[in-house]
């Protein structure tokens, strides 16, 4: 019984939240890794692209809620998501046309493109704050829990509850669908194959008659879809605040690099590695230890390896370790 209680506690506070967070990071990291693979630079504006997509979705959600539209138990934001994706795609395509394309044609060094993306980041950040303000916004509706802690307790008779928020399940399901679609697209369709060819060897791809501008355009659209989805899921799960998206940049890049920049599979693996380590290292294991250990060994302290505010330090430490010992990442991504 005690062991079961321990497992339930661990699931409730570590495993379930980490799976949700990991899916959100994986979606974000996929966007970063695609840009890196095709356009060959680290896009620092990605966090703010996520914020922008989420913001559009939030605005449309409010409008729908105002009209009285609802999906029942599901959040209305799902209905608004396609609009968010479309507007974000429009924004990033405009940005590419007005900003990035010039440097692509000049064959500018990647670091110049990174600095350019810093400028884009400023503009997007300012735009989001200008439209919706810097504060927390709530837009989640529908049912909050699939199963609440109290129901779980009465159902199983255990001391500890396992609460599963509907947003967590939603996050995992939507992320899985998005990833499945992406991999199907990359591996089965002609356009997807040309994208992979372009990423592997640009010159050879050009020789084979692949139109680079088309590949770039499709990449941006996919990235907009991934970023908006990730941003909306994160906002539903936690809350929408422009600044937190900027701060997600570090774990997202850590995920992409840990998995191997340029490798989509690696981005997903990296997302979960980072999420699980962040949550595990900052969780106070007192309760779990209390159930597992015999009574006289029960700890007095919180048994917390690091304070929650140091979660950045965890993703950073993993990043540094991977960079030092396996610079191409777990899945050996693009090394150029």
């Amino acid at each position: 019984m005690d062991l079961l209680n321990a497992i339930v506690t661990l699931s409730n506070f570590v495993i379930v939240p980490a799976i949700a967070y990991g899916s959100q990071l994986a979606l974000g990291a996929l966007g970063v890794t695609l840009i890196y693979g095709i356009l060959r630079f680290s896009n620092f504006a990605h966090g703010d692209t996520m914020a922008f997509g989420a913001m559009v979705t939030v605005l449309v959600t409010w409008w729908l809620q105002g009209l009285g539209v609802s999906l029942g138990p599901l959040p209305t934001a799902l209905l608004a998501l396609p609009v968010g994706i479309a507007v974000t795609a429009l924004l990033v395509l405009t940005t590419d046309r007005m900003v990035y394309r010039f440097y692509r044609e000049q064959k500018a060094a990647p670091v110049i493109l990174v600095i350019v993306s810093m400028g884009v980041m400023f503009i997007m950040n300012g735009l989001v704050r200008f439209v919706i303000g810097p504060n927390d916004q709530r837009f989640a509706d529908g049912s909050r829990f699939i199963i609440s802690a109290r129901d779980f307790k009465t159902l199983t008779g255990l001391n500890e509850g396992l609460a599963i928020k509907s947003t967590v399940v939603l996050t995992v399901v939507v992320a899985a669908i998005a990833v499945a679609l992406l991999f199907w697209f990359l591996n089965k369709t002609r356009t997807g194959k040309s994208m992979r060819a372009f990423s592997d060897n640009e010159d050879l791809a050009l020789l084979s008659g692949i139109n680079p501008e088309r590949v770039v355009m499709i990449t941006w659209i996919i990235v907009a879809a991934l970023a908006t989805t990730a941003g909306v899921l994160y906002g539903l799960d936690k809350s929408f605040k422009p600044f937190t998206y900027f701060q997600l940049l570090l774990p997202i890049f850590a995920s992409a690099i840990v998995g191997g920049l340029g490798s989509p599979l690696g981005a997903i693996a990296g997302g979960f590695v980072i999420a699980f380590s962040e949550v595990t290292f900052t969780y106070a294991f007192k309760k779990v230890a209390g159930y597992v250990l015999p009574e006289n060994l029960e700890p007095d302290s919180l048994v917390q390896l690091l304070s929650t505010d140091y979660k950045f330090a965890v993703s950073f430490a993993i990043l540094v370790i991977v960079l030092l010992f396996r610079p191409t990442g777990i899945f050996g991504g693009n090394t150029r």
């Binding site: 900003v99 140091y310 990043l319």
Partner: protein
């Protein structure tokens, strides 16, 4: 127009803007812009050393600036003797154990033969060291933070004159830069960028959470000043009589005098640094740096130690940022860890360097003044523009209200726009490298 004339004209223009603010708005605002402009110029000098001389992409400026601020607290605040008596030595012992663990692990990794055994031993050193560290550290922290948490609750500083804090802040930043550089400098430029971004976030979270060191989010206030207090000036009879003789208001002029005092100190530091930076850039060392930047392989083939030179310039540039950070904390008179935002302290400094002209020290300084002036002025200008644009709307219109309230966010938009425009149409900046 010769290049020197053109540079001089640009500087005169920027100072003209500041002086115009003094005439049109108030001298207090103008001097405030000048003081922060001086500090920004020093930060831009530091980043320019790393990016302009050596092509190193450091976006952790915020962290080094904050460490400089910590230097100001550690040097100038009076020590909290009770806290030192309670657990001061224990904290130092804990930190020593922590450092010894890391050094031990690194040495173990280097000395032992590769294989599973090496990995296990290194991991064991780290894990055991971590728990020993926490075992010594946690009670000490609890003891220190228990002592008068509302007033102190931290170790305090050394109680030395604040001016000593400036070089100390630089040393703090240099130490952190050494650690970062040792681990991340061999990597590709965008990996270095992510690594520095990460270290900056970690430094800020340490300042926010380690209450025993920096009082965390409770902030350290009342850091001693290198210049007199306004109230002392107003109470001093000689000052009041002299100022009244000149026909000035004692209260207003006291704050201006104090600000001028800061400007003088900052200007001295800036001029010394600028002179040093210029001589370094024009020396064989500076030419070597630029050679390494332009072609690492060729420079290495000529027998230059690229990694060591990169580490050197990374430390130097970060130290300059730390110095600026200590000066800024001195000017504010307080350390508020939650006020450190990457957009303001890292990316804005980058805008200064790029707009001013990367690779040119004068350009970086000019960019520092100009961008800081715009950063301050965009808000009121944006408000005026929006007021004009929304003048046709009804006074109670929600859109008008929202737009006017959002004027503060015009800053980020404008800075991004300026950065993109300069990068596109004048990528070498206002005063390009020569």
């Amino acid at each position: 127009m010769t290049t020197t004339l053109r540079d001089a004209f640009l500087f005169v223009l920027v100072f003209g803007l500041i002086v115009a603010t003094g005439f049109l708005q108030s001298w207090n605002v103008a001097l405030g812009i000048l003081n922060m402009g001086l500090i920004s110029a020093i930060m831009a000098l530091g980043v320019n050393m790393q990016w302009g001389y050596a092509g190193l992409f450091n976006i952790g400026v915020m962290g080094f600036v904050a460490l400089g601020g910590l230097g100001a607290v550690v040097v100038a605040m009076p020590p909290v003797t009770e806290a030192w008596a309670a657990a001061g030595l224990r904290i130092i012992l804990a930190l020593a154990v922590g450092a010894a663990t890391i050094v031990g692990a690194i040495q173990g990794w280097k000395r032992l033969d590769a294989g599973r055994q090496r990995a296990l031993i290194t991991a064991a050193i780290l894990i055991v060291g971590f728990f020993v560290f926490r075992w010594i550290f946690d009670p000490a922290v609890a003891a220190i933070e228990k002592i008068n948490p509302a007033g102190t609750g931290y170790l305090g500083g050394l109680g030395l004159p604040i001016l000593i804090a400036w070089p100390v802040g630089a040393v703090f930043a240099a130490g952190a830069a050494w650690v970062v550089g040792k681990t991340a400098l061999g990597l590709r430029s965008d990996y270095l960028a992510i690594a520095t971004l990460g270290i900056a976030e970690i430094i800020i979270s340490i300042l926010k959470n380690e209450d025993w060191l920096s009082r965390g989010v409770k902030n350290v206030i009342g850091i001693p000043r290198p210049v007199p207090y306004e109230i002392d000036l107003q109470n001093s009879e000689t000052f009041v009589s002299r100022v009244t003789n000149w026909g000035l208001d004692p209260v207003a002029s006291s704050s201006i005098i104090v600000k001028l005092g800061y400007s003088g100190l900052f200007l001295i530091v800036l001029l010394i640094l600028l002179w040093l930076a210029q001589s370094a850039l024009n020396s064989p060392w500076g030419r070597m740096m630029r050679a390494i930047r332009d072609n690492e392989v060729a420079a290495e083939a000529m027998g230059k130690d690229v990694t060591a030179r990169h580490l050197q310039i990374f430390i130097l540039g970060s130290a300059v940022c730390g110095l600026a950070g200590a000066m800024m904390t001195t000017l504010d008179g307080q350390l508020t860890p939650s006020s450190y935002q990457p957009l303001r302290f890292t990316f804005l400094v980058w805008v200064m360097v790029i707009v001013g002209g990367s690779g040119n020290n004068l350009g970086a300084v000019l960019g520092g003044f100009l961008i800081w002036f715009l950063w301050i002025m965009v808000e009121p200008i944006g408000l005026t523009v929006l007021e004009f644009a929304t003048a046709g709307l009804a006074d109670d219109s929600a859109i008008k209200d929202h737009l006017l309230n959002s004027a503060a966010h015009m800053r980020l938009l404008t800075m991004g726009l300026i950065l993109l425009l300069v990068l596109r149409f004048s990528p070498r900046g206002l005063i390009p490298e020569r």
